[in-house]
């Protein structure tokens, strides 16, 4: 009975969302202001219904209602409660419902926090979000009903994929989806601006915090996913250029370009068409990501077995949204205008170059991601694009971009000059070069990649310092503390995010340059010396978890006779699916991780002999620390008072 209520809630939500989309748009075309009044109540009602449906499905997971096909497929009564609740996004149907639920959350947020927008614009905005909701609700009801019932109720469920039974499962999907779907708000802003014919500095000011919010969620979501892959997959990698990772990374790159271009639109009234185009691209790539992940065309942890009708539906929906948006853009962009002029060398031109770099990088990733899918779809064989392509091409494209990142914040708006910039940055460059040579000499190995990576990181860090200094000098009076407190959160946030990227680059460079990997065969009682650390294998302990049994290796790590840590990697057997899982054990430290994972017990030799993999990962935590700093930087810029909406006089 209860699951049926969820199903009905979705059907009614579809009707309400249709009204939410159609009525205000009809109002816009007939200039009938009365119709605008429907937007907010319809949006709230529709969001509420979707959230009810979501809660009902999650409740069914909570009470182990295996009469629902989806619950029976992705959960199990022995699954710990927290994973049972998170299992709702562990399969196809639930994750699409989750997608649309997050959209409902964003829609609600818009109805509550965008009250100060002019009625006409706000209604159009909400109507556009309604259109997206309609598309996804149709998708759920026609191809992926999460409330489908089973005629014969199984005794127990088939369990959540053991790979997903991890705290990462609780946080990674919601953050990522908040980011993905958050770009729908920026998209709706852009479409509403095109429909309304209004695009000026105020528009950019309204849009900025929403776009930054989506970007922050996406940054944190990707970082969390990367960290999860690092410890869970057992191979010590943090980024694999897997098509699904790329699917989340492309909207991030475009989103990054978008927040910079929005800054120019807001401050200088320039880049207007470009900003609108980027908003459309960011959300289109989010949709493309959904298509790639959910259509079943991929081999991945993220891909669920699906049927082709779903892929077709998403493809058609994708074509309608992207095609429609671009058509509207082509028709209306000329009315928006290009905006203010600027000099060949100015902060505007530097930000434009940064946008070109990010756009190109996205294109390169897109090529590597889609090409194998297209070749396969045309029946020309199966190919894959090796990670070296992404590594080499991505770094080559980003290096000039990161160089510009050091110059941009220091350059003046409208017109900058080379002597002035050189004067401010010469010491930063000198210090960066020296440091980038100094660190490798301490580590004992230098390569071009290491040098370039460290150079970029130190360059961005020292440029942040120059930015602070320039700003301090511009304020003539007051103590240092007063000067610093006058900076404003937006400026601080920008610096923090840039600094975070530098920290990230340090992590990536150090791991790539200096990581060590060894595959060992170890007998019980044996000690092996790797990288100056002694590893003593004290055998295997049996262990019992809630829904698995495990063999836990005991490795005592010491250095120069001093104990460092006890590492306990596990080999788990999940009982419901009889699936074996490797759980790595990691000793974390700011400058290095020691990472141990168990291979398999070797037969035919002495008892208690195992193959073991040991990694040393210098500075690997800096990768995620950097992402965290970028996220906090984004949050800081959002709280800036300038974006607090004040009542707009109509």
């Amino acid at each position: 009975m209860i699951p049926d209520i969820g199903h009905y809630a979705l059907m009614i939500a579809l009707i309400v969302a249709t009204l939410q989309a159609v009525l205000p748009l009809a109002g816009l075309s007939s200039n009938n202001k009365k119709l605008f009044a429907f937007a907010t109540p319809m949006a709230r009602l529709q969001s509420l219904l979707i959230i009810i449906a979501f809660i009902i499905l999650d409740y069914s997971f909570y009470i182990n209602d295996f009469s629902i096909l989806y619950v029976a497929n992705t959960s199990n009564s022995n699954l710990p409660i927290i994973f049972r609740l998170a299992a709702i996004w562990g399969g196809h149907e639930g994750s699409i419902l989750f997608w649309v639920t997050i959209l409902a959350v964003w829609t609600l947020a818009v109805t509550f926090f965008a009250k100060e927008l002019p009625l006409r614009f706000r209604s159009t905005l909400i109507a556009v979000m309604g259109l997206i909701t309609v598309g996804f609700l149709l998708f759920i009801l026609m191809t992926s009903n999460p409330f489908e019932r089973l005629a014969f109720i199984p005794i127990d469920g088939r369990d959540l994929n053991p790979l997903l039974q991890d705290p990462g499962m609780v946080f990674h999907p919601p953050l990522l989806y908040m980011g993905y779907v958050g770009f729908s708000v920026a998209f709706a802003f852009a479409i509403a601006a095109l429909l309304d014919g209004r695009l000026d500095v105020t528009w950019a000011r309204w849009t900025r915090p929403w776009t930054t919010a989506a970007w922050v969620f996406l940054t944190l979501g990707i970082a969390l996913g990367s960290r999860w892959a690092y410890y869970e997959l057992g191979w010590g990698g943090w980024w694999f250029w897997d098509a699904v990772e790329n699917a989340s990374f492309m909207p991030w790159l475009i989103g990054t370009a978008l927040i910079h271009s929005l800054a120019v639109t807001e401050k200088r009234d320039a880049f207007k068409s470009w900003t609108v185009l980027l908003s459309i691209c960011a959300f289109s790539l989010s949709l493309l990501g959904t298509f790639i992940v959910r259509s079943g065309v991929l081999t991945s942890v993220h891909a669920f077995a699906t049927d082709p009708s779903r892929g077709l539906f998403i493809l058609v929906f994708l074509a309608l949204v992207i095609g429609g948006a671009l058509l509207l853009f082509a028709l209306r962009a000329p009315t928006i205008g290009l905006g203010e002029k600027f000099d060949l060398l100015s902060r505007e031109s530097l930000l434009l170059s940064n946008n070109v770099v990010l756009f190109t990088a996205t294109g390169a990733v897109l090529l590597g991601t889609l090409y194998p899918l297209v070749i396969d779809a045309m029946g020309l064989g199966k190919i894959s694009v090796g990670p070296p392509y992404f590594d080499v091409v991505f770094v080559a494209i980003m290096v000039p971009g990161i160089f510009l990142m050091g110059v941009g914040p220091i350059a003046r708006w409208k017109k900058a000059t080379v002597p002035e910039l050189a004067g401010k940055l010469k010491w930063a460059l000198a210090i960066s070069i020296v440091s980038a040579l100094l660190v490798p000499s301490v580590m004992g190995k230098l390569s071009l990649m290491i040098f370039v990576g460290l150079l970029m990181a130190f360059w961005v860090m020292s440029s942040v310092w120059v930015s602070v200094n320039t700003r301090l000098q511009a304020i003539p009076t007051g103590t240092l503390r007063e000067k610093i407190s006058s900076f404003g959160p937006a400026f601080n946030g920008m610096l923090l995010a840039h600094f975070g990227l530098a920290v990230f680059i340090v992590g990536v460079t150090m791991v790539k340059g200096y990581e060590q990997e060894s595959d060992l065969v170890m007998k019980k009682g044996e000690t092996k010396l790797i990288n100056g650390y002694a590893f003593r294998f004290e055998g295997i302990k049996p262990l019992r978890g809630a829904n698995y049994v495990a063999k836990q290796g005991q490795f005592y790590v010491s250095k120069d006779g001093q104990p460092v840590t006890l590492l306990t990697p596990e080999k788990r057997l999940y009982l419901a699916q009889r699936a074996v899982m490797t759980e790595a054990s990691i000793s974390v430290n700011p400058v290095r991780d020691i990472y141990v994972s168990l291979g398999e017990e070797l037969e035919g030799e002495q008892k208690d002999t195992w193959s073991v993999r040991v990694y040393f990962k210098p500075f690997v935590q800096w990768i995620w620390l950097g992402c965290l700093l970028m996220g906090f930087g984004g949050i800081l810029t959002m709280v800036d008072k300038r974006y607090r909406l004040t009542k707009v006089v109509k």
Partner: protein
């Protein structure tokens, strides 16, 4: 006039730069494409003699032999099978009789030296490449049977 010349020079330089970048990008792309072959296609000599490629199919029952961290096994598409060696730790879901994809190079002795072994992510799932290899082998077997009938 002078500033216009400067502008044109910068635009030309920009386009040249972009062209070089695009060429390098596509070159790197081309050299990093990894093609997939079934054991039958490898035996027919369709796979490259040099460079990386992928093979997929099922792990032959009873073929897995371990020597320390070295593993030797056979991959079959039911029509033909080939020898593969790999050094390192195999993925959790690598099992005899189950689907697998290996990436690496083929030595002069015909043994495939894998530097990467991919298995499926869950019990009910077959890597598409492996499924593809089995399908092709079925056709191959059917053709062969038809040929023998004649």
């Amino acid at each position: 006039m002078k500033s216009r010349h400067k502008r044109i020079a910068i635009i030309v330089a920009g386009i040249a730069l972009l062209a070089i970048a695009a060429t390098l990008l596509l070159q790197s792309f081309q050299s990093n494409l990894v093609f997939f072959f079934s054991p039958t296609e490898v035996i027919q000599g369709k796979s490259p003699n040099q460079g990386n490629f992928r093979v997929g199919g099922l792990v032959v029952e009873g073929s897995v032999k371990r020597d320390g961290t070295k593993v030797a096994f056979q991959i079959t598409d039911t029509a033909n099978s080939m020898n593969v060696v790999f050094t390192g730790i195999l993925p959790d879901l690598f099992k005899e009789g189950k689907g697998v994809v290996a990436q690496g190079t083929q030595g002069a002795d015909g043994v495939f030296v894998a530097d990467q072994v991919l298995a499926k992510h869950d019990e009910n799932y077959m890597p598409p490449e492996a499924a593809d290899a089995l399908e092709k082998a079925q056709q191959y077997n059917a053709n062969k049977a038809a040929g023998e009938d004649k």
